[in-house]
Subunit: 160 residues, 2 copies
Amino acid sequence: MSYDSIYEQRKSIEQVEESSSFAPKFDENGLIPVITTDYISGEVLMQGFMNREALYKTLELGQAVYFSRSRKVLWHKGKTSGLYQIVQEIRIDDDQDCIWLRVDVQGGASCHVGYRSCFYRSIPFGKNFNKDSVDLSFEESKKVFDPTEVYKDAPNPTIL
Amino acid sequence: MSYDSIYEQRKSIEQVEESSSFAPKFDENGLIPVITTDYISGEVLMQGFMNREALYKTLELGQAVYFSRSRKVLWHKGKTSGLYQIVQEIRIDDDQDCIWLRVDVQGGASCHVGYRSCFYRSIPFGKNFNKDSVDLSFEESKKVFDPTEVYKDAPNPTIL
């Protein structure tokens, strides 16, 4: 099956920016970046990628389906952990090269490390910036779940 | 000047995910993706990229400095339009390959098309998904500024 049927060709800046034509831009690896936020709190939960099939399935299903760059497979978020992301709204940006997913998360956690958000640490800046030593601060005090129990022996997706 | 002094080497998954070590991952083009949200509303305003210098300058200055992929230069957001992004918080994700900027926007608009957010259109999904015709919906009814007046003859950054 071709998932390309829903994607229009990119013909002009006016079409892409000012019309209702759905003409997303996939990069040289066939991927588009996705920002996922909590529908209620607005908190950024994660940043992932979709290929043509993942975006099609997300639209069809109303649940987040990503493409895993480390495992190189379609990745229906929550399939292993039960923490599905239920889509409440999907937006696309001006030049249609980025997707914004607004979701409700079953179980309240989105991060494989066990935190609510993947963005659980802040970076000091401005008057707190010290070019000789930048130390991250933890903004979430407690993990929502224990990843060793939920994911068991699954390999950690982080690539050094 | 080397901007690398503030970035630590990536040595282990534990260091990257569980410690306060600041060890961001720049991709093969030397870039890291950045999600920028409105500090008050939580709305996603834009998605951009930073190189090592842009991230350093953002931390030092407390205003968003990106790297423009189309123009291949450092891009102090607001320099042309006056719509500077004042950083209120900066976060980094679990594997440190994505930045989340929470900002106040002077002038209230972040999008070169003239809207408040770059994500001014939604995509129908779930029961509203029609594989034969996907039409975007406009979620912002009015532009905040007229881009032809603000940017004058500057080339449009959108690449087809």
